[in-house]
């Protein structure tokens, strides 16, 4: 190392001694905007988790004679319904809160499925290589060649349209991204001298994977997670558009937009409230992902 490199990239290292607290380090690398965003996201999560206590009404309870009431502040609004009512006279606020909760749950579990599946296969492909790794990457290619919508159609057609099937389908949507990224990272990390040092010290494969490789590929996995998370929220709404989402009357943000889209010209709040919620949440996650990528200094291919 010459001092030039030092000048170009001053060591990011925190000067404090001892175990670096990851969260503290990350927080210190967040600007005001990011911090505000993080707080807001935490708030969203809390609100979603508490939906059933916060929501003023049963999200599925109809008042057929109080349909299509606009949100408070618009002409004809009913002050009982803060965000108005939908096409069946259900409270938009309550539905949105419950929808938010279910949407987040679907995206969360779905993304966990793709994370675990994709990471596992990516590690196998990257670490074990050989023909099995080749097969995994071939499956990735095949999955890439068939649009997700079609895969979803077939899966839902075969296994029926239920929440678990939907979540698994959504989970299938992102695994190949993990597999690709993880494989590349594993290939890179397993060539690092510190891994060779562990091999030279006699470390078994399991130990190398758990102790050295996994912790070192965790950051890109987290970043991919934030990227797929918002993509999954959008995927769920696309499925709802095609009538493949959750079964009514259950609300997700996506199904609310999908079923409310016909009203965009006449009663726009029905679709716009959940659409804005989708945009807001996925924007937040994207921004968090972008910040994490910079903060963790990851280059993704």
């Amino acid at each position: 190392m010459t001092e030039l490199t030092v000048a170009f990239a001053p060591p990011r290292a925190s000067t404090h001694k001892g175990k670096p607290n990851l969260f503290k380090t990350l927080w210190s690398r967040a600007n005001l905007f990011t911090r505000a965003n993080l707080c807001l996201f935490a708030l969203v999560l809390i609100v979603a988790a508490l939906a059933q206590w916060i929501a003023p009404f049963d999200p599925d309870a109809q008042k057929l004679l109080a349909r299509l009431k606009p949100p408070v502040g618009f002409g004809g609004a009913n002050p009982t319904y803060l965000l108005g009512t939908d096409q069946l006279g259900r409270d938009m606020l309550s539905r949105s809160l419950h929808g938010l909760r279910l949407t987040l749950a679907i995206a969360l579990i779905g993304s966990m499925i793709s994370l675990v599946l994709g990471t596992t296969l990516g590690i196998i492909a990257g670490y074990a290589r050989g023909w099995f790794g080749g097969v995994i990457m071939a499956v990735v290619d095949i999955q890439l060649a068939i649009p997700f919508t079609l895969i979803a159609l077939v899966v839902i057609a075969v296994f029926g349209n239920s929440l678990p099937v939907l979540i698994v389908t959504i989970g299938l949507a992102g695994w190949e991204v993990y597999a690709r990224v993880v494989r590349a990272q594993v290939l890179a990390v397993s060539r690092m001298p510190f891994v060779e040092a562990a091999v030279a010290a006699g470390a078994p494969h399991g130990r190398i994977l758990v102790k050295h490789i996994l912790p070192n590929i965790a950051s890109p996995i987290i970043v991919v997670w934030t990227m797929t998370f918002s993509a999954l929220i959008l995927a769920e709404s696309s499925l709802s558009f095609l009538g493949l989402g959750v079964q009514p009357p259950t609300a997700t943000l996506g199904s609310m937009v999908g079923l409310g889209r016909d009203y965009l010209a006449s009663s726009p709040w029905i679709a716009l409230v959940p659409a804005c919620a989708i945009m807001f949440v996925s924007l937040q996650v994207l921004l968090i992902g972008d910040w994490l990528r910079d903060a963790l200094d990851i280059r993704l291919k």
């Binding site: 990457m137 060649a145 079609l150 159609l153 709404s237 989708i278």
Partner: protein
């Protein structure tokens, strides 16, 4: 390097082969066509006759062999719904979809690269932040919402643009924008990051040390290098575009293959669906091959990664 490209090509062909077999069996698994495409309330006798006319009462293996045979003779059978050759159905629609792709791709690249460049050069100021916000919003909006809102604004209220159809190039403008939006966002983000990467490279320092003006340093030395990783994501973007085109074509009533494929999937129109999936896989695989070749052409160092 030629070897690797050839190997990539073979791999692509193998992928297509698997898709061809997979789509046949997956579609049969997904239900009986007769339950979906005959009018509700058709009587049982007619239904049985229709099933046998459609050849769906044949053993699966016979159907598969017939399908394979058709693949090689170019006879993909008749659509169960439209009752005419699948090839003819797609021939009517493919040009529209390809046109739409071409517009969207052009739009995304022609806008995305300069915006990404501007965002990289204005990193840290309001202009750069504005571009990135635009990119993120484009990425975070469900595209059918974007499509409908655009229709309501530009057609319903302002009467500037036609809302639907595929008659003239202007009809493709809104669909292309919606189709391009997430891709545009991705290209902006990616080209910005690629450029920021490149801007820190030693060879740019060299270029400056040579006394080159800034427009050459960035426009020639940096851009060419930043373009390379951007090209690699275009292949993936085409795959994403194929997924979205379904929704875009449906909303804008564009006569394209995306719309057709989804309706054939929902209606279990096997021959149409099968050929559609093969066609789409062909488009995706070909575009990623083109990207590989373009990558090889753009970057003299490249050895196409055998995946």
């Amino acid at each position: 390097m030629l070897d690797q490209l050839a190997r990539r090509t073979l791999g692509a062909i193998a992928t297509l082969g698997v898709v061809i077999a997979a789509v046949f069996f997956a579609t049969r698994l997904s239900g009986n066509a007769a339950d979906y495409l005959l009018p509700p309330g058709i009587d049982m006798q007619t239904k049985q006759l229709m099933i046998s006319q459609m050849g769906l009462d044949q053993p699966l293996l016979n159907q598969f062999l017939h399908y394979l045979q058709g693949l090689f003779t170019g006879d993909m059978g008749n659509g169960l719904y439209e009752r005419r050759p699948v090839i003819a159905i797609y021939a009517e629609r493919l040009p529209n979809t390809l046109t739409l792709f071409a517009y969207a791709l052009t739009l995304a690249v022609a806008l995305g690269l300069p915006l990404g460049l501007a965002a990289a050069l204005n990193r840290g100021n309001a202009f750069g932040a504005a571009i990135m916000s635009l990119a993120f919003v484009g990425y975070a909006t469900p595209n059918f919402v974007l499509a409908i809102i655009m229709i309501l604004i530009f057609s319903f209220n302002l009467h500037w643009l036609p809302s639907s159809g595929s008659m003239t190039p202007i009809h493709f403008l809104m669909p292309a924008i919606v189709l391009a939006a997430p891709m545009l966002a991705e290209i902006i983000r990616f080209s910005r990051n690629a450029l920021l990467d490149v801007l820190g490279q030693d060879y740019l320092r060299t270029a400056r040390a040579k006394g080159l003006p800034e427009h050459l340093v960035v426009g020639k030395h940096a851009l060419r290098n930043a373009a390379i990783p951007v090209v690699t994501i275009l292949g993936l973007q085409v795959a994403g575009m194929v997924g979205r085109v379904v929704i875009v074509e449906s909303v804008f009533a564009t006569k394209g293959i995306g719309d057709l494929v989804v309706y054939s999937a929902i209606g279990r129109d096997y021959p149409v669906l099968q050929f559609g999936v093969i066609l789409i896989a062909l488009i995706v695989v070909t575009s990623s091959l083109i990207v590989d070749y373009a990558y090889a052409a753009l970057d003299p160092r490249v050895k196409v990664a055998a995946s």
